[in-house]
């Protein structure tokens, strides 16, 4: 159910759709090629190294560093109600990068390139449908212990 992932989803189907199911359960999954061992985050079904389509999910611990960020004031459709919001790219300690919102535990004046962070799986808690995402929090935040974010 890849459409669970994101505030607005543009991708209902993907070979890595179960990523969203795992995220709902609090687990961030990258992928690992079963034939050659190539691992990557975000996950992909098809191995760029050996062309195999034989993959499995591999859990990532979500620890990383801020790579870059911006605070977006002019929002596209579907995001106007939460503007301004800060999106950042995180370089994961276990390899790969991801894009996510900066969470409430990191105030803007503390946000700097290079600071260590913890990416935390989240459930949108005001949606009648299941919608999941992740946010960037201070190290030590967990799925069960990060304070619920205030969006918009």
């Amino acid at each position: 159910m890849f459409s669970w992932f994101g505030k607005v989803s543009f991708v209902p189907y993907s070979k890595v759709a179960d990523f969203a199911v795992h995220l709902k359960d609090g687990r961030m999954m990258g992928s690992r090629c079963k034939d050659c061992g190539y691992t990557t985050f975000p996950p992909r079904a098809d191995c760029p190294q050996c062309l195999s389509g034989n993959f499995e999910f591999k859990e990532y611990n979500g620890k990383g560093k801020i790579y870059t960020y911006t605070t977006i004031s002019a929002a596209p459709t579907g995001f106007e109600d939460i503007a301004p919001y800060t999106a950042a790219v995180v370089e994961l300690d276990e390899g790969g990068r991801l894009m996510a919102w900066v969470g409430d535990t990191i105030p803007l004046n503390e946000l700097k390139i290079g600071i260590p962070v913890q990416v935390v799986p989240r459930i949108f808690d005001d949606s009648p449908e299941i919608k999941v995402y992740y946010t960037i929090e201070k190290p030590g935040a967990t799925w069960k212990k990060a304070p619920s974010p205030h969006l918009g």
């Binding site: 709902k24 609090g26 459930i123 808690d125 009648p128 299941i130 799925w143 069960k144 619920s148």
Partner: protein
């Protein structure tokens, strides 16, 4: 069946009497630490705590008026501190104050709604905030078959019991993704103090309604509640389970 409740933390409102006491003891027997509230019956509440402790579990009696929002918030916090965790909420505290509507005072209405329906809101909300963050919880709201049907001279009671059912269904929707089950147990006539005060003709009429020719005991209800509080029932949510011996089919 091992219900897997060992070490879990539970709150049972109205746990000093009747169904509530039976539920509290049953949960303790299954291994949970149980807190009960009381409004006036502190002796009975302490008695329940003693029984819980005899079973080797932690017990706690908290003086709290269920119709008070703040009391509910405080009790949930208190129980979390005392037990280290909260996993289960059973809302059971309820009163009735019967009367046909043309004789029912505003106070009669407000009090029953305030204790029964508002009281369940107070505790459901306080617990929901904990359960949602920890991604685990079991809520059982004890309603009545008189929330499914209209009972003569119980417009206030039926309203509150029906309201508890609809509220529980809404909460099941809101909390499902956070791994929280919200269910309703709807007993018919149960052999409790509340029943003791009824006139014989009402009791007989109710007995005739059942197909099994008897009323439920608090213990019958406790078994069902305990099951719904366990992970064996993890796929049951937003459900209303009658326990009425066929009184209302």
């Amino acid at each position: 069946m091992d219900l897997g409740l060992k070490g879990k933390g539970a709150i049972v409102t109205g746990g000093s009497l009747g169904i509530g006491t039976a539920v509290a003891i049953e949960l303790a027997r299954e291994g949970a630490n149980v807190a009960v509230n009381y409004r006036r019956h502190d002796a009975e509440a302490k008695q329940v705590v003693a029984e819980i402790e005899k079973l080797g579990r932690k017990g706690l009696a908290v003086k709290a008026d269920v119709s008070s929002y703040n009391d509910a918030m405080k009790m949930v916090q208190q129980v979390q501190e005392a037990f280290g965790r909260l996993d289960i909420l059973v809302c059971n505290a309820g009163i009735n104050w019967d009367g046909v509507i043309w004789k029912m005072s505003e106070e009669q209405w407000d009090t029953v709604i305030g204790v029964n329906l508002k009281g369940y809101f107070n505790y459901n909300k306080a617990a929901a905030m904990v359960f949602k963050d920890q991604k685990y919880g079991k809520i059982v709201n004890i309603s009545s078959i008189n929330g499914l049907r209209g009972k003569f001279a119980q417009s206030n009671y039926s309203a509150s019991k029906g309201g508890e059912i609809a509220m529980s269904k809404s909460l099941a929707r809101e909390l499902g993704v956070f791994n929280v089950n919200v269910n309703v147990v709807a007993p018919g006539m149960v052999t409790t103090d509340m029943m003791e005060n009824l006139a014989p003709e009402f009791k007989n009429k109710a007995l005739a309604e059942t197909v099994v020719g008897r009323f439920a005991t608090p213990q019958d209800c406790a078994h069902l509640v305990a099951f719904l509080c366990s992970d064996l029932a993890r796929h049951i949510t937003g459900e209303v389970v009658k326990i009425d011996g066929g009184q209302y089919i």
